[in-house]
């Protein structure tokens, strides 16, 4: 028993030996501190009930910060007033939902009573469509290129991947600095004989750069998933195709794409789920502007609940519930696809 434990303890070799010794030492001290009370608990309730003890902290956290808030959110969405505590809020029924959904025409945000919400929905849809196409296209091409016999593949993979780890605020500031009026890009443009462009004053450009920056920041993640999928395709399938003299395009169309399809679907749904909730990068990059040209649904919810002068938790709650329903459906699809890919 003790031998088993020791063999899984510190690998006492190399420069990490000292660190390992410290870890083992503190682990021992922690064990001496925590084992007696936990042993007492086990004597009290019996070993068969111990799993509940292990589950408890996580369940308390989930309960307090996920399940309880879902309930409160639904209560918020059917009550009015500006109070934060549900008991002080008068019941208003479906009023917030009615207000959100009250539109002359759903194709025209200005015809809606809560036009900002619909502008957010429209912007999020635009963003999502462009982002999905660009993200899947670029990560697929990058994964295909990286899957070729390339020198320094590890390096190139890292190059595309590292922005994934950066804070969205950092990402947005990096690009804001490049895209500003006297920034690097405008310097390149004027040197090439063009005119300066005020990227954040033009609605079209603001949306373009919102999508671009998001793709820049996250494509490495999806490239990685697709690359793993490509590398899982057996070599001999390709060798057989090569022996038959199959043309490259046909190989891609008939072998690569069908075998990669499960991974590609997962990527599509993941991009979709993330796009629908987009906020961080775009908010710091454009502030939702110019005007409301890049204001997304989540920004609408955040502003309605926190940033506006009158904090309308009811309206924000109703919008959250609607967004939640969309995300719920999307996540179910994702889980279904992931499970199918695994089996």
């Amino acid at each position: 028993m003790t031998d088993t434990m020791r063999s899984h303890g510190a690998p006492a070799r190399g420069p990490s030996a000292a660190a390992a010794a410290v870890t083992t030492g503190s682990a021992n001290a922690l064990m001496r501190l925590t084992d007696p009370p936990m042993r007492a608990v086990q004597r009290l309730i019996g070993a068969a009930r111990m799993p509940y003890v292990f589950l408890l902290p996580n369940l308390v956290f989930f309960g307090l910060f996920v399940f309880l808030p879902i309930g409160i959110n639904i209560v918020f969405s059917v009550t009015g007033g500006t109070a934060l505590f549900p008991a002080e809020r008068p019941y208003v029924g479906a009023e917030h939902y009615a207000r959100l959904l009250d539109c002359g025409s759903y194709l025209e945000a200005a015809s809606c009573r809560e036009d900002l919400f619909w502008r957010g929905v429209g912007n999020t849809l635009t963003f999502t469509v462009f982002q999905m196409v660009a993200m899947v296209l670029f990560s697929l091409v990058t994964a295909l290129v990286l899957n070729r016999p390339i020198r320094g593949r590890g390096f190139f993979r890292a190059v595309y991947f590292f922005p994934v780890l950066l804070s969205p605020v950092v990402v947005a500031l990096i690009w804001k600095w490049i895209l500003q009026r006297d920034g690097l890009l405008n310097a390149v443009l004027t040197t090439a004989g063009g005119e300066k462009i005020l990227f954040f004053v033009d609605p079209g450009w603001a949306m373009f750069w919102s999508v671009f920056v998001s793709v820049w920041a996250h494509m490495g993640f999806y490239t990685l998933i697709l690359l793993a999928g490509l590398q899982a395709i057996p070599r001999d399938v390709y060798e057989a195709a090569e022996m038959d003299g199959t043309r490259p395009w046909r190989v891609f169309h008939r072998i690569t794409l069908p075998l990669l399809w499960p991974n590609l679907l997962v990527v599509l749904v993941l991009v979709l789920i993330r796009s629908v909730q987009v906020f961080d990068e775009v908010f710091v990059l454009t502030g939702g502007g110019p005007g409301t040209a890049t204001m997304m649904v989540v920004q609408y919810i955040y502003a309605t609940a926190f940033a506006n002068q009158v904090q309308n938790f009811g309206l924000a709650g109703a919008a959250s519930v609607l967004l939640g329903v969309v995300l719920f459906v999307l996540t179910l699809i994702q889980l279904f696809l992931t499970r199918r890919r695994a089996s």
Binding site: T4, H8, N73, P86, L166
Partner: protein
């Protein structure tokens, strides 16, 4: 010799010859390096420029500043210019003042005599100058150290709590059979569908009730239990041989001891992946801290950066330097753990 070098550089796996698709591939990758690294490099270079240099258009690539010389007889150091004289020779002169289109210059070697030259005949003499004060000023003038400390505290404490409670739950869900296990699993999966994005206001209410508003606990606690973490660890713990656990039970080890001394050490690779994810999430977290941390004293780095960039007169020279400092720890972690992180993500499909 050159032939050998060329063959070495152009050699391909399998000895095949070059095809246009190879050229296209490397071209694409080279463009990728420029597009992915370029912006970060530009940020780093810009962060060392003085406010005056940042205003230049078109901007210079490297942080430059105009050279100055002290000339006897003049109290202030004078800016140095390279002047093309009428006879075609080029001299380095210091400028005393500029009046309209002519400039009064002196030769630093012979300060007695002023020389008048047309203003368009001179170009400034510049040298590379790193504005290190962009980095040092925020440390003393603003609460930058406090933001850095806040971010560190949040990241470290939250990661420890995350590792502890998620590994406990994963242990329960992987090693035991008990009533309600299915329900617990379903609950964990359920939380996967509820990002904090859609429960901002209610979580704010809970945090208020608990008395954590405007304390770092408000950021640390809500995200500590994560479905991603539970699944990642559970998946790994399922592979631990049951014989080990049974043997420990025979030896009368408590269930807690089995968790802490057998399952945890054996799950180190999965714990390390979760630790890296958690550090990444916490260091970068934005929307929730933005909503809940209203007092400046408790701002984390991303929130502080956002507040700073939103000010009326953005002080870019400080902002850029602080952005670099925020980016640096992540860059270092990545440089050392790159393979580990990428394989962790490729295996789990999560981030």
């Amino acid at each position: 010799m050159t032939g050998k070098l060329r063959r070495l550089l152009l050699a391909r796996r399998g000895g095949a010859s070059w095809h246009w698709t190879d050229v296209a591939s490397y071209g694409y990758l080279a463009l990728g390096v420029l597009l992915m690294f370029g912006p970060v490099l530009w940020l780093a270079l810009s962060s060392f420029k003085t406010p005056a240099a940042l205003l230049e258009f078109p901007p210079s690539l490297l942080p430059m500043a105009q050279s100055e010389v002290s000339v006897p007889g003049y109290p202030q150091p004078l800016p140095l210019f390279r002047v093309t004289m009428e006879d075609g020779s080029v001299r380095e002169l210091a400028q005393v003042r500029r009046v309209g289109i002519t400039a009064q210059m002196v030769d630093p070697a012979a300060p007695g005599q002023t020389i008048r030259v047309p203003a368009d005949r001179r170009t400034p003499v510049r040298h590379m100058a790193l504005a290190v004060e962009n980095y040092t000023d925020p440390l003393t003038q603003f609460d930058f150290l406090r933001f850095l400390r806040n971010s560190l505290v949040v990241t470290v404490v939250a990661t420890i709590i995350t590792l502890l409670i998620n590994s406990m739950a994963a242990y329960a869900l992987s090693v035991y059979e008990f009533r309600g296990k299915k329900l617990a699993m379903l609950g964990v999966i359920g939380t996967l569908m509820i990002p904090i994005t859609i429960i901002l206001a209610p979580v704010y209410l809970v945090v208020t009730k608990l008395g954590f508003v405007d304390s770092l606990w408000a950021v640390i606690l809500p995200g500590a239990a994560t479905p991603t973490g539970v699944f990642l660890l559970r998946q790994y713990m399922l592979t631990i041989p049951r014989d080990l656990i049974e043997a420990a039970r025979m030896d009368k080890a408590s269930e807690w001891r089995i968790y802490a001394r057998i399952v945890m050490p054996l799950s180190m690779p999965a714990l390390a992946v979760l630790a890296i994810f958690s550090v990444m999430w916490r260091w970068n977290e934005f929307l929730w801290p933005l909503a809940v941390l209203t007092k400046t004293e408790v701002h984390t780095l991303p929130i502080a950066l956002n507040a700073f960039q939103g000010e009326l007169q953005t002080q870019w020279h400080y902002l850029l330097a602080m952005t670099v400092v925020t980016l640096l720890p992540v860059a270092l972690v990545f440089a050392f753990l790159q393979r580990f992180i990428t394989s962790g993500i490729a295996n789990t499909g999560m981030k």
